[in-house]
């Protein structure tokens, strides 16, 4: 962070992540799952975090709520959350078990997960799990909480919500479960919803319904959404802002139009090329990104993407680490665009 962040013209961001590093201290070595991420989430906007599996986007999201399982630990950076009363807190500095962070979880920032099958308590009724959340954060009686929960179930499009209130997770279909999850996440009207690949496990039709639902609710509640996905289609559909992550770093970010129209980072480009498009004929196979994601313990020196980069520049990319810098309409971390530092 050599440069001061430019003073935004828009209202202050809801969440500002700066230099976040979340590392896993395993017996085999340190896995740098998140290694210096800078992001901002604007109020009422949808940010899509895009990246392959294992690029650290889920860990980054969990770091915000401080629910990273051991042996993972935040080792650097800050997560500044601006609360409704205008005060800012650094979530990264909080103890993960403190009452302060627990108040934010579920209430200010809620999260839904990719596996609706396993993300709900298996032997507790759906309704009970929602009511539990409400009672954690809102002062109301159990009966009121129940009504709120049923109302919420209704709102997320679950038919016969009063009946479903008494259902167990395994009695619901995947889509219904994800709706229930969303109901649970939104029951306290959070200001930020983090959705971690919420549609991966669902079939295509349901995926669309869920995405629509999230978009609708976002409008309705005026909340911000951080959507984590590897699916460019999803990004295209719902995103306002996009951040592309690779190996624990944001390699490019910007508004969705800029990224799609003018991707700058070779990785972003490769991602976009690998998506089949209607009306575009490919000569042979769909182009794919060469190579594999490196082993988490063997991070390449210099630019993390250099091992797979078609524009690899020996002597530069394997020596220096590119920083995220504003280039035109997006921020990008690539020496094709950024100046190469004089010394390593």
């Amino acid at each position: 962070m050599t440069q001061p962040t430019p003073i935004p013209t828009e209202p202050a961001p809801l969440l500002r992540i700066a230099g976040l590093k979340t590392h896993f201290f395993t017996d085999d070595g340190v896995v740098k799952a998140v290694d210096g991420v800078d992001l901002t989430v604007e109020p009422g906007k949808t940010l899509c975090v895009l990246g392959e599996s294992g690029c650290g986007k889920s860990i980054m999201a969990r770091s915000i709520l401080r629910i990273v399982d051991r042996p993972g630990r935040i080792v650097g950076g800050s997560i500044t959350y601006r609360a409704a009363d205008g005060r800012s807190v650094d979530l990264a500095a909080m103890s993960p078990t403190s009452a302060a962070i627990r108040q934010i979880r579920g209430s200010d920032i809620a999260m839904i997960f990719q596996e609706p099958m396993t993300s709900l308590g298996p032997i507790q009724k759906i309704g009970k799990q929602i009511v539990e959340t409400i009672l954690l954060h809102r002062r109301m009686s159990k009966a009121e909480a129940k009504e709120t929960a049923i109302e919420m179930l209704n709102r997320v499009g679950i038919p016969r919500p009063r009946e479903r209130f008494e259902a167990y997770p395994f009695e619901l279909s995947g889509g219904m479960r994800q709706r229930a999850m969303i109901a649970m996440a939104l029951c306290c009207q959070p200001r930020l919803l983090i959705a971690d690949e919420p549609t991966t496990a669902l079939d295509v039709t349901t995926q669309a319904q869920i995405l629509d639902l999230i978009a609708d609710l976002k409008e309705e509640f005026g909340m911000a959404v951080m959507l984590i996905t590897h699916d460019l289609g999803v990004v295209a559909e719902v995103a306002e802002d996009v951040a592309v992550m690779y190996l624990g770093k944001v390699v490019e970010k910007g508004d969705v139009y800029s990224i799609f129209e003018e991707p700058k980072h070779p990785y972003t480009r490769a991602l976009l090329e690998s998506v089949p498009r209607l009306g575009v004929r490919h000569a042979g196979r769909l182009p794919a990104i060469e190579g594999m994601v490196p082993h988490p313990l063997v991070r390449p020196t210099g630019c993390p993407f250099r091992t797979r980069c078609r524009a690899f520049m020996p002597g530069i990319c394997d020596v220096h680490q590119p920083e995220l810098q504003r280039q035109g309409r997006t921020d990008v971390a690539c020496f094709l665009h950024n100046p190469v530092p004089a010394h390593g």
Binding site: E52, S274, G291, M292, H295, L297, R308
Partner: protein, 381 residues
């Protein structure tokens, strides 16, 4: 993500850093196991115990049935390494002699250390004859008094003046093999029954589950007593030993079968099993080539945990007087002989020595099994 997977084949040619070697499942198990330090230590202990069992005669300085009138209830003699006399201090392993006095009124012998009398102890000394591994005639023993007629009771002597150390060493063979043989019997029955039950399901499963429930509903001790009492008396001790082992293994196979069944049930729905079936493999092949390997590490772990149960079961049998009979020596029979107030008060070593050996062996086996179980699923966590 599909794109990385499709590119696997091309990966080698591109500018790739050396990726860590991809380990096979067994290597992964071993790697995880190695990290479990307690289990590693236990593994060493268990191997040591089995070595003792194999080379028992070589390690035991005296025959198990060698009695000594002058040394009934002789206390343990500490092994000293150095001798200090007029010529200075020299390395000379020895034990001190014992002076015995008889208190006729209280009917007891009391022993005092005879500091004057030094019984030199050496390695690879000559002693009683035996067959190493049951084949090679030998008379050398790992250590013992230089003169085999001299007394040396490192762990004390029992009521007939027999050397407890030798008896425990020899008992290791019976006790530890009862565990192994018993487990082997349990394994065969358990995997067969559990496998059938879990693989076929339906009425086979119902039948076998009812059968297991039935076996388990018969209380163990009466079952043991009934079976043990039905052994004809004119059977030689070794055959009786084998039957006792089979009896002991009755407790093991049902739980193993349940475990195997559970694994089968969960595997049955897995894609790779379905794929194997669609490939036209016979049931036998599917079971042996695909299912058994995928849970064999679990089975090994449960087996390791079953061995100590068998060892303890044998001690219970011995306690009831329906287990092994003299002249066979096992830890259980040794413990039974010491199971009385008199031993606790007058000769605690009779209880402590076999008791601690059992505890150590069972502990080690349990830790080992625990470590194996933790390591058994290399993909967990």
């Amino acid at each position: 993500m599909t794109m990385t997977q499709t590119e696997l084949a091309n990966a080698a040619e591109s500018n790739i850093d050396p990726t860590p070697i991809v380990l096979g499942p067994w290597a992964l198990v071993w790697r995880k196991f190695r990290r479990h330090r307690l289990a590693m230590v236990s593994a060493v202990v268990v191997i040591f115990i089995y070595l003792v069992a194999i080379f028992a005669e070589f390690l035991a300085p005296f025959p198990t049935d060698q009695t000594s009138v002058r040394h009934t209830f002789a206390p343990p003699q500490p092994l000293a390494l150095f001798v200090t006399d007029a010529d200075g201090t020299r390395f000379r392993p020895h034990v001190k002699g014992l002076k015995m006095e008889i208190d006729r009124e209280a009917m007891r012998r009391s022993f005092a250390v005879d500091a004057e009398r030094i019984i030199p102890v050496g390695f690879f000394v000559k002693g009683y004859e035996y067959k190493l591994l049951g084949l090679i005639p030998a008379n050398r023993h790992f250590f013992g008094p230089l003169d085999p007629r001299d007394p040396m009771y490192l762990w004390g002597a029992d009521r007939l003046g027999r050397d407890m150390f030798s008896r425990i060493v020899m008992g290791t063979r019976v006790s530890m093999s009862i565990g192994l043989v018993g487990v082997a019997v349990s394994l065969v029955i358990g995997v067969a029954m559990g496998g059938l039950s879990g693989y076929y399901g339906g009425w086979v499963d119902t039948l076998i589950q009812r059968f297991i429930e039935f076996i388990r509903s018969v209380p163990t001790i009466p079952l043991w007593m009934g079976l043990a009492a039905a052994i004809p008396l004119d059977w030689p001790p070794l055959r009786t030993y084998f039957v006792v082992t089979v009896i002991v293994s009755m407790i093991g196979w049902t739980s193993l079968a349940r475990e195997v069944r559970g694994k089968f049930l969960s595997l049955r729905g897995e894609d790779f099993i379905t794929a194997a079936r669609l490939d036209g493999l016979t049931d036998r092949e599917v079971i042996l080539k695909h299912m058994v390997p995928s849970f064999s590490s679990h089975i090994i772990a449960s087996l390791t945990l079953a061995v100590p149960l068998m060892i303890l079961a044998e001690t219970s049998l011995s306690f009831l007087g329906i287990g092994l009979q003299p002249p066979l020596v096992s830890w259980g029979t040794l413990l039974k002989e010491a199971q009385n107030i008199r031993s606790i008060i007058e000769a605690p070593w009779l209880l402590i020595a076999p008791g601690s050996v059992i505890v150590v062996a069972v502990l080690a086996l349990n830790f080992l099994g625990d470590g194996l179980r933790d390591a058994a699923d290399p993909y967990s966590n």
